[in-house]
Symmetry: C3
Subunit: 350 residues, 3 copies
């Protein structure tokens, strides 16, 4: 079961160009993504209501899309505006259209009650559009339930093991105790790691002859959005002396494709040496390499869960973040479910 009344990332902006008819399964629904002539993104049920042919195999005609099985044409509001060989168009011939917003470089979709689609709820991915930050976009499709990816992002102790040779570098990250704070729709995690070594990938970006302090400070909010500040500086410098420090900001989003597969959109921005494209490329490739390490581990975990008999997991102190997040998600799902069963007409009942 997925949370519906929230903004999911549906695509990177460059995945939906002027002529694109993109088919993407989101929360188990096949969705057609395209743009109107003025560039506004449209998200529509991809299944033609006539004979269930997929519209992404159709043809874009102005702001409309034509199904290329029997020629039905729909406008950007989902209304059928042409049926070849038939003058009267039954009102039932209508595709569901989802509220969609392009905000910075992500196309966001609201798959719940359209009345509740409030754009001000879209998380702030400021580093995607900021003169002081540089980055490149990335995407992976996971063969795993989205919650196992959320779990991973909520406990950075795995950096010491999964990413030992990339983002990690020592057991210190796992040994550090994070501070976990509950937010209205997520959790905030603060994990300072003091007196440690740089991560292997830092060696390509700066020079740290002595010990360093590293920091990871992030919000993880429903339905699976990570907004992370991280970095490192020399441990010898005073607290407020950032000489030679490296600062990063990362936006990441997990969007369920189905119960067993997940879209993963991510980037890692840097605010140092922003005029050197080689640095941007190095940062991006380091993140991608590391996230493929996660993918291999999490898909193996998923396969283990799928093929072995159900058994409870044993929780540890380091699971605090993910336990908290699942609690938030559970409460929101419960609230959504109860609001679905008791509508306004229920209130009238004595």
């Amino acid at each position: 079961m997925f949370l519906k009344n929230c903004w999911y990332v549906a695509a990177w902006d460059h995945e939906v160009l002027a002529d694109t008819l993109l088919s993407r399964t989101l929360l188990g629904n096949s969705v057609l993504l395209y743009r109107t002539e003025d560039g506004k993104p449209v998200a529509m049920d991809n299944r033609c209501c006539h004979r269930h042919a997929p519209l992404h195999m159709g043809r874009k005609e102005g702001d409309c899309v034509r199904c290329m099985y029997h020629g039905l044409k729909y406008d950007a509001s989902g209304r059928c505006v042409e049926v070849p060989g038939q003058d009267v168009i039954p009102p039932k011939l209508k595709q569901r259209v989802y509220p969609t917003v392009q905000c910075r470089r992500w196309i966001w979709i609201w798959m719940g009650d359209p009345e509740k689609a409030d754009e001000s709820l879209i998380p702030d991915t400021f580093s995607m559009q900021h003169p002081e930050w540089r980055w490149s976009p990335s995407y992976l499709l996971y063969k795993a339930n989205y919650l196992y990816i959320c779990d991973n992002l909520l406990d950075f102790s795995h950096l010491s093991y999964v990413h030992e040779k990339t983002l990690g570098g020592s057991p210190n990250i796992a040994e550090a105790r994070p501070e976990v704070t509950r937010l209205p729709t997520g959790v905030r995690v603060n994990r300072p790691v003091r007196g440690t070594v740089p991560a292997p990938y830092h060696g390509r970006l700066g020079s740290f002859p002595g010990k360093v302090n590293r920091w990871f400070h992030y919000d993880f909010i429903v339905p699976g959005i990570l907004l992370l500040h991280s970095g490192l500086k020399s441990a010898d410098n005073a607290e407020d002396d950032f000489t030679g420090a490296l600062s990063f900001h990362s936006c990441q989003a997990v969007t369920p494709e189905t119960e067993s597969s997940t879209h993963y959109f991510f980037m890692l921005a840097h605010s140092f040496r922003i005029d050197d494209p080689v640095v941007t490329e190095s940062v991006t490739q380091s993140q991608r390499a590391a996230f493929i390490e996660d993918k291999i581990m999490i898909e193996a975990q998923q396969q283990m869960i799928d093929t072995s008999s159900a058994q409870p997991m044993v929780p540890l102190a380091s699971d605090l973040g993910l336990v908290q997040y699942r609690r938030v998600l559970h409460e929101l799902l419960e609230a959504e479910r109860s609001s679905e069963t008791s509508g306004p007409e229920r209130v009238m009942t004595p």
Copy 2:
């Protein structure tokens, strides 16, 4: 559920040569097809009744087939005639044999009550064996339920869209209103298209500088047999003036492999320039290219139906043919079901 008391196409004649042991799944049953020494086709359960090994991995010995797991030998009537190391052959050792007829170039099989297998019910595929027609045989295996292929064949409006650049050529085909007549075991469709343009593939076969009239006239009968006359002539000529006209006849058969896959046997014969093999090749390749367009669309439709939540389709005027055909099929299935449950012994019950 499949109709059983009817003739299905099991194979093209050239698929079963003198030494062939062909395994083909028909209506969910694995069937062995081979020929006796005098060329008569035999269709037998492919599953050896002893340990369920497949007979097509066996050895043809005269009119018999020997299972090459433990050596049991069956004659063309399905009777076991040899058990190595055992003198007495239990009468239970018998393979089910299906009535089979080669008629013109198709091998037909009757998978219902053998008593009812009347050869005179086999549809007339005259153009397969006629001095005035030329053609080549084709075959495709669909990953789709056979009914979605029947639907496709019962509404030629799709020619304007799926086959826009091959068999279609303009929206006029979709705009034309067909005449649909019910037949005892199918429907007859007549779709004249007047004052239109030739199809793209006609350009390789004849010259039509002005407008043309096209015609499609066919019977579609259970369990999925299409017999189609089609063609085009200059719209400037009188009704009975066929100078420069191109005439085609097509025989097509869909046979369920399983609930989710279908055999599709087809050909397109031409009666003009019959001494030019390049024309035959061109006509055949045009049909194959177009039928691969259908396959891509219908398999995508099937996949959409499989992966999305059940939802009713919205019927249009153009669905008249397929609605009628499904009604015919439904009635025949109901009749077959009720005759299965109420046999003669039932009639005796007071």
Copy 3:
């Protein structure tokens, strides 16, 4: 359902080297196989009890294994000995460990009640470690339930057909009547074949100008262990004259991977020309080629059973061995099931 209180072959010894972390699914359970520093094999649940990540993707550290997701470390008894960032280790953090024994070249595992794991029950595979025998190890993974492989090994009549051109050579093997004797945990089969021809593969090993006598004498015991003496000698020689005879001994083991797949470990030892490695290679390759013939047939049989409607098989006289074996297995399974439901506390019930 699998028998649990018995020794299964888990691996060839060379599959688990000093640094190996081998993941192998046995009876539906993902098992980690490795060796302690002193070479003792360890078999442990491969699923980390914390978040179900697979331990075989971890790191061997001395006698321990560390999960490389979050860094938990387990010793060879399955006890968790380290949790990064946490001082107290909950006693629930424990991996199930299975009794394991290396005996000759096979690593045996006991997946039932550890109290009952009696090493003296391990079958005697003497030829694996004997100065008078030579051989090479082989392995196949079947896409079939293990019982169909057992069936195959319990009725050598298939040698005449499946292995006509390899291990067979004539219908005489199928025609010979075997003697089948029940053992406490299996069956003994004696199948002498007199006055026959050598098998095709014998032609590369010896010279038999006239008729020969062949013998097959074996025990097949739970959970699927074959111990086979076979060979051939000139039919002209006296019963006790083994001049020019070829003697073989084969050890084979089937171990269920899942309900639909099976590990198959096997070897064929020869006691003639033991100093000629070309002979060992020829014997081994002949067996492998023949066992691939079995695999093709049995997987086809399994597929036929999977895809066709359930129907009883028709038993023959030649099925005596496999019917007897299945009866033994059924009785042992029943006994195991009833002992599971009635523990000591049941005995107390009046």
